[in-house]
Every structure is written in structure tokens, then in C-alpha cells.
């Protein structure tokens, strides 16, 4: 299944590994921060409704 990477296996695997890791971290943090922000907004809007 794995292609014959030959003598450059370390380079190729590390390139893919780090890149995918960085992308996953970016998407993960984005979604985490986004969920938190949207929840905070909902709370704030709810408080405004209950105040008025």
C-alpha cells in the first residue's frame, strides 16, 4: 500500500506529517474558538432579552 519512498522516506513523511498536523491544529483551534465565541454571543443575547 505504502509507495516505495526509498532513501527520502524521512523527508517526505515528515513533510506530510508536519503539514497535516499544522492544518489539523488550525482547523481544530478555529472550530474550538468559534464554538466558544458563538456560545458567548448566545448567552449575551439571552441576557439582553431577559433584562428588557
Amino acid at each position: 500500500m505504502m509507495p516505495e519512498l526509498g532513501k527520502y522516506a524521512v523527508e517526505v513523511v515528515s513533510a506530510y506529517g508536519v503539514s497535516l498536523l499544522l492544518l489539523a491544529a488550525l482547523v481544530g483551534l478555529t472550530l474550538y474558538r468559534g464554538k466558544y465565541a458563538r456560545a458567548a454571543l448566545r448567552t449575551a443575547e439571552r441576557e439582553v432579552k431577559t433584562d428588557s
Partner: protein, 244 residues
């Protein structure tokens, strides 16, 4: 209805909600297809061996690193001229994405060159220019974080983006000039202007580039929504604190 109607945060969020599922789906599809096809389905290069597979990461990331900054530049101009908050927040949202793209481009570029140069980093003009671009991204993000008032932050970062763009272009030429003295001449083995990439490598590359582009757009839409939410929540809290 012109495109300017999306400067309205509510309309923007509505548009964002409509397009995001498709964007994320298409992005995931293209990135996976591009990378899997490229990694498993293409042969090795005669000279570079299996390291040519890095092209499917490096070129799309490098492309988006530049495009992200360009998008920030346009968004900054729109903010400075038309004062649309969505635009300013979109630039803010795009910056970390661009920075990560630059980081990926740097890492893959350095690793790709390792077999050729024998070191894990070389002061190749293209890599060096991307390193400088990364510093510009860091400065831009840091400035957003450092200024308290959001509108002032938007103003200052917009001008920084403008000035930074000029100096980034200037640095590109300066770095090219500077690297002549190294007598190295070999740059990252990427498809530069004259040299063409063989078809068998080209198609998965295009898919991957498309995927990275879609991913960027999806991320910016979502992140801009996050920024809008944060701004709105802060504004509501401020009003509540003032007793309104």
C-alpha cells in the same frame, strides 16, 4: 443586490451559513483527493526521487500564503476607504490562516531541499522571502492583539498591511539580489516560471491547489463569523455594563 450588501454583518452571516457546508465539503474532498492521488498515485522523479511528492503540499501552501496576504491587503483597503467592519474582521480572520500556510510552505520547502543541499535549512531566496513574509504575518497578528479599541486596531493593522505589502515586494527583490553572493543558484525545485511540471504531477497538484484554496475560503468565512460573534458579544456586554 451588489456585493456591498454583504458588508452588513447580518447578511454576511446569512451568506456564510449558506455557503460553508458546500465549501468545507469541497475543500475536504479536493485536499484529500489531491494529496492521496499525489502521494500514492504518482511516480518518483528521476532527479528528486520521492521528494517530488512534497510538491502537493508545498506549492498549494506557498500559493495560499501569498494569496492570503493579498486578500488581507484588499480587505484592509476596503476598511480604510468604506469602513465596513466585516472587511476588517475578514482580514483579521485570514491572517493566522496565511501564517500557517506560510509555515507549511517553509517547512516543506526546507525539507524538500534537504537532499539537494544536505542541510535542513538553506538561505535560498524563495525560502528566505517566505520567512520574511512569516514575520510580517506575526507582526500583523501581534498588532491586532495589542490594541484595545477594535476600530483603532482595524485602522492600524490596515495601514501596516499596506506598508508591509510594499516592503514585502521590496524585500523580494532585495533577497534575490542578496542571494547572488552565495553562488548557490539552485532554488527550491518547484515549478518556476520557465520550467513546466509533467502532466502526471500536474493534475493532482491542481486538485490540491484547489483544495487549499477552498479550505482557505471556508476557514475565513467561519473565522470572520467568529470575530463578528466576539465583537457583538463584547458590544452587548458593554451596553449592559452601561445600564442600557
Amino acid at each position: 443586490m451588489s456585493i456591498w450588501s454583504y458588508a452588513n454583518p447580518v447578511k454576511f452571516l446569512a451568506l456564510s451559513a449558506r455557503v460553508q457546508p458546500a465549501l468545507w465539503g469541497a475543500a475536504a474532498l479536493c485536499v484529500s483527493v489531491g494529496l492521496i492521488w499525489g502521494f500514492f498515485g504518482t511516480p518518483d522523479d528521476a532527479r528528486q526521487g520521492s521528494t517530488v511528492k512534497i510538491i502537493y503540499l508545498h506549492v498549494p501552501a506557498a500559493l495560499m500564503a501569498i494569496n492570503a496576504w493579498f486578500m488581507m491587503l484588499v480587505a484592509s483597503l476596503i476598511w480604510l476607504i468604506r469602513r465596513h467592519h466585516v472587511s476588517a474582521l475578514a482580514a483579521k480572520a485570514a491572517a493566522p490562516v496565511g501564517a500557517i500556510m506560510t509555515l507549511i510552505a517553509l517547512f516543506t520547502g526546507a525539507v524538500w531541499g534537504q537532499p539537494m543541499w544536505g542541510t535542513w535549512w538553506a538561505w535560498d531566496p524563495r525560502l528566505t522571502s517566505f520567512l520574511i513574509l512569516f514575520l510580517f504575518y506575526l507582526g500583523y497578528i501581534a498588532l491586532w492583539e495589542a490594541v484595545e479599541d477594535p476600530d483603532t486596531a482595524a485602522d492600524l493593522t490596515s495601514v501596516l498591511c499596506l506598508v508591509g505589502s510594499v516592503f514585502a515586494v521590496l524585500s523580494r527583490y532585495a533577497v534575490n539580489f542578496w542571494s547572488q553572493g552565495l553562488h548557490q543558484g539552485t532554488s527550491v525545485p518547484v515549478a518556476t516560471g520557465g520550467r513546466t511540471v509533467a502532466d502526471v504531477f500536474f493534475y493532482p497538484l491542481v486538485v490540491s491547489m484547489l483544495g487549499f484554496g477552498l479550505l482557505f475560503i471556508a476557514l475565513v468565512f467561519y473565522r470572520t463569523g467568529t470575530e463578528i460573534s466576539l465583537r457583538r458579544a463584547a458590544a452587548l456586554r458593554a451596553r449592559a455594563d452601561r445600564g442600557l
